[in-house]
Amino acid sequence: MSRHLLSAGDLSRDEAVAILDTAKRMHAIQTREVKKLPPLRGRTVVNLFFEDSTRTRSSFEIAGKWLSADVINVSAKGSSISKGESLRDTVLTVAALGVDALVVRHNASGAVQRIAGWVSCPVINAGDGTHEHPTQALLDAFTLRERLGDLSDRHVVIVGDITHSRVARSNVLLLATLGARVTLVGPPTLMPAGVATWGCTTSWDLDAVLSGKAAGDVDAVMMLRVQRERLGGGSAAGARDLGGQFVPTEREYAIGYGLSPARLDLLPDTAPILHPGPMNRGLEISSIAADSARSMVLDQVQSGVAVRMAVLYRMLAGAEHPVLDEEPA
């Protein structure tokens, strides 16, 4: 495995499958009474979060702790970042504490890549702006594999704000590596420029895609969160407004691209529904869809811990890290 995990596109098919297979074993451990395992004993992992997060941060924290690493959380609020320290100084200060790995989230795309160039320890991208979120793609792939088996030639539909979604970008890369077929669906204003070069089918018509008429039978659907913080709404005009720059109103978005009960019926009974969370119920996903037996939302959370345990194990437990004190043969 390469030194850092910055992009889902860095993973070869063999590497990705090895992580997912390891995660499967880790997943079995989660149901045990005693979940603590020793391979990262004496290792220190710092969660360096410059952007709010509950599930990703706590998921990495639990994953590290179950493998016996010491995990420290540093968030932008209440740290020296709020006192005006530069990103580089903050990162170098944290790294100088003697950490073995940095798990970084930042609201600027590319920030994690920059950070990886400044420090000597492995860096894991836990989401950078609208760019990538590789462990989310891994946990989505894990959840899909649990339900569908091998993902070769499976058809996954990703719906929502593709432009601002790091989840969509990482999933497109990883699903392509694993041999799946991806269709992206969203309003034209939320389709990124150059999406034609991503190697996916694209559509503006959710009903046609879900019913299989537009791009073939659907094996799974992934609803993206409407990220108010990236659409510029919610400030002056109130929380129910999406800013009007990309989408006129929430209501119009829900009508065009929400997973309503009627759309749920268009899907095959076997197709799992994924959502990276947190969900906006009634906006991109109806409560009936979110709470249906096909909803994988909580499975995804559980898979997240297993996948992050697998990533930490494979990046930190091995010999690639310098071993100073070799035991006698």
Partner: protein, 188 residues
């Protein structure tokens, strides 16, 4: 039986009929031992080749004594002490036997006993699954060169080797055919 070759041999030291007889004898020895505790025992194979061995022992015990001893597996990879030295490896499967291991006599099963480090890791891994009444060890081959104070309760074949050699166990389930051979390691 051929004596132990001092020079590395490519020919199999043990063939399929030898392995079958050895497994039968080990099954009888285990029966003799666990009959005293009313067969309240479980067989736990250590992946990869300890698992099919554990299933074979259970099958022979069922044939000879007409008792079903639960079988499971315990992966020791995450408890190994050489991960940093030799790097990470894929994880094997841990399957808790029916009824768990707490209060039972656990018989760990592996193909080759060498340094004892795998078994040391196995003992740690067991502690995560429960608290056995007692732990015993069954190995198909004991090749010596222990680095830890560990010994086997049931030994299929004592095979004295030099540290430069490698003992290769093949089983029908994992390798297509049963055989045990001693080969010289490429660079040791």
């Amino acid at each position: 039986m051929n004596g132990r070759a001092r020079t590395p041999v490519e020919a199999s030291t043990l063939g399929a009929p030898d392995v079958a007889r050895i497994v039968d004898r080990m099954a009888h020895q285990i029966i003799e031992n666990i009959a005293k505790i009313d067969f309240d025992a479980v067989l736990l194979g250590i992946p990869t080749r300890g698992v099919p061995l554990a299933h074979r022992l259970a099958e022979r015990i069922r044939v000879f004594a007409d008792v079903a001893v639960p079988v499971g597996s315990v992966d020791v990879t995450l408890h190994r002490d050489d991960l940093r030295l030799r790097g990470v490896r894929p994880l094997g499967e841990t399957v808790e036997p029916e009824g768990g291991i707490t209060g039972k006599t656990v018989i760990l099963v592996d193909d080759v006993l060498f340094s004892g480090r795998t078994i040391r890791a196995g003992l740690d891994a067991l502690a995560d699954l429960g608290r056995p009444r007692a732990v015993q060890l069954a190995v198909l081959v004991d090749r010596g060169h222990r680095e830890l104070p560990i010994r086997a309760d049931y030994v299929g074949k004592n095979l004295p080797t030099s540290p430069r050699e490698r003992v290769r166990v093949s089983l029908a389930e994992t390798d297509g055919a049963d055989a045990v051979s001693v080969v010289e390691e490429a660079d040791a």
